[in-house]
Subunit: 320 residues, 2 copies
């Protein structure tokens, strides 16, 4: 029922399913399995960067550009931080409220914090919903530049890293993990002091990692903008479209590789969640697990043997 509605583009049905995904309801998998064959057409674009760099303002501008071109857009705002800081994204959403009145734009926030699995998997699930709804473009916006964000942007076809002048630390974070996955590097608030230094630093790091990048055939671009005034947005939009074209060249070889990587991560996340559920069931639920943990913590047993036992117990003697 809800599957049929979502395939017809019903916003309420889609919002409900995404809410259930975010709540960790595993019964959604049946619906998702039915939606899956209909997905695979959207262009998924990830935007990431530290809080305060102006991601939402830029996303807002890019959404408008896609709308001007007649494309439908879904936005997933993903905030893996604690509930305690959850306010940030709400504020961002308010800034984007002009799109709330536009039927062609569908905006949803996600914040799942499961113990096992969680945000990366549920983001991948929500992308399938928006994709099956028929959105031409799906924008995934994440807060931060940590490991979570790196994994989440693995769900994207085009990855945009946003920073601002003078964020030495941001540059370090980019260097540390995001350099290898960024397709576009945007220096926002480029009218501020230090913009050219920041651009230079990013270029230097890109050169250092050029071998790695050369294999993909796409040379990452460094662009500047002042998103709040709309300056530089056209160039960024153009670069996003260029990257999409690049992915579709030569029979879509690059897109295929990307898709297989996305599928691999998604599949293994699903397998992990399912198996962990069964391990905990087998050991007698949370209480049973706590008992085992207590024995290990008091050095009566060791985690290496116990983990093997749990695996063997699950596999019914077939393990080890």
């Amino acid at each position: 029922m809800s599957v049929k509605k979502i395939l017809q583009g019903d916003v309420r049905a889609a919002a409900r399913l995404i809410r259930r995904i975010d709540d960790g309801d595993r019964r959604v998998f049946k619906d998702l399995a039915q939606l899956y064959p209909h997905a695979g057409k959207s262009h998924v674009i990830g935007f990431t960067g530290s809080p305060g760099v102006g991601k939402s303002t830029l996303v807002d501008r890019i959404v408008s550009k896609f709308r001007d071109d007649g494309k439908t857009v879904g936005v997933l705002a993903v905030d893996p931080t604690s509930p305690f800081t959850g306010g940030a994204i709400l504020g961002d959403r308010i800034r984007m409220q002009k799109h709330f009145l536009d039927d062609g734009v569908f905006i949803r926030s996600m914040a799942t914090r499961g113990t096992f699995g969680g945000l990366t998997r549920s983001t991948a699930d929500a992308i399938i919903v928006l994709d099956a709804m028929g959105k031409d473009v799906i924008i995934v916006e994440t807060v931060g530049v940590g490991q979570d964000e790196i994994e989440i942007v693995h769900s994207a076809h085009t990855t945009v890293l946003v920073t601002v002048p003078g964020m030495g630390d941001d540059i370090q974070a980019i260097k540390a993990g995001l350099m290898e996955i960024g397709d576009l590097f945007v220096v926002n608030k480029a009218d501020r002091e230090g913009a050219s230094k920041t651009i230079r630093e990013i270029r230097m790091m890109l050169e250092m990692s050029s071998e790695r990048r050369a294999a993909s055939g796409w040379l990452p671009r460094v662009l500047t903008c002042v998103a709040s005034e709309g300056r530089g947005v056209d160039e960024i939009y153009g670069a996003i479209l260029d990257h999409r074209r690049h992915l579709l060249e030569k029979g879509g070889e690059a897109l295929k590789r990307l898709e297989e990587n996305r599928v691999r991560n998604h599949l293994m996340d699903l397998v992990k969640e399912s198996l962990f559920g069964k391990v905990i069931e087998k050991v007698g639920g949370d209480a049973g697990l706590n008992g085992v943990i207590h024995e290990i913590a008091t050095r009566k047993r060791d985690p290496y043997m116990v983990s093997q036992e749990l695996v063997r117990g699950l596999l019914g003697g077939a393990g080890s």
Copy 2:
């Protein structure tokens, strides 16, 4: 053989085992299982913060303080970043070279980047090695403030977050995930402009999360230092010892809770790695897995049904 040597404090045997852990050699588990009952006595201290905040200089000073008190120290420098940026930690280690001549200090770097499992688990393993060697204190130093670092510092009893004045972004990152786990907040390079503003910001955030903290009975402290000149180091050292005392109060209730949390994470990481290995074996190794992934990527199948099949296949029909 090597187990016996490690228990006697043999540096070479320990270094060899840690190397094998870092290489992802699963045969180490037998040795680790034997070492485990002998571990559990060390005070594990995690230091984290963005690159460039002076973590290594501070760690260096703190190591000296412990040595002056006659304690033996193990240092694990953990760098989850790409091989491409691996140079950073080497530079840090060179700064710590004075301790290389001290038998009471054992320094090792780790950089594992496994697909499944990886750094958090291998850091927990290496801590057991240093603990079983008889080190009084184990310092785990990580680069960055992302999800990986949060997980790694879960392996510590006392967590020290290091920042410097004017790092607005760092503060955001701390806010986003580390605020809840930091026991000490150190503002290094406190002679720089903006130090009092940074301290104020941290204090404000701590107040906002005070309820959460009150449950543990420890009020996080905000301290300043100029590590390069040794200023403020005594106070930080004192606070670390205070936190240890706090953990041991009332029959060590707080330490027990911490230990059980560490064990839980370690155990589930071990279970995951083992089960993933078996899933991949069952599906016909990497080639078999790639075949399945190709079918999903081309929408012939969906990841939800396939993950259930893989789980059922592993459990021999007992699954679903």
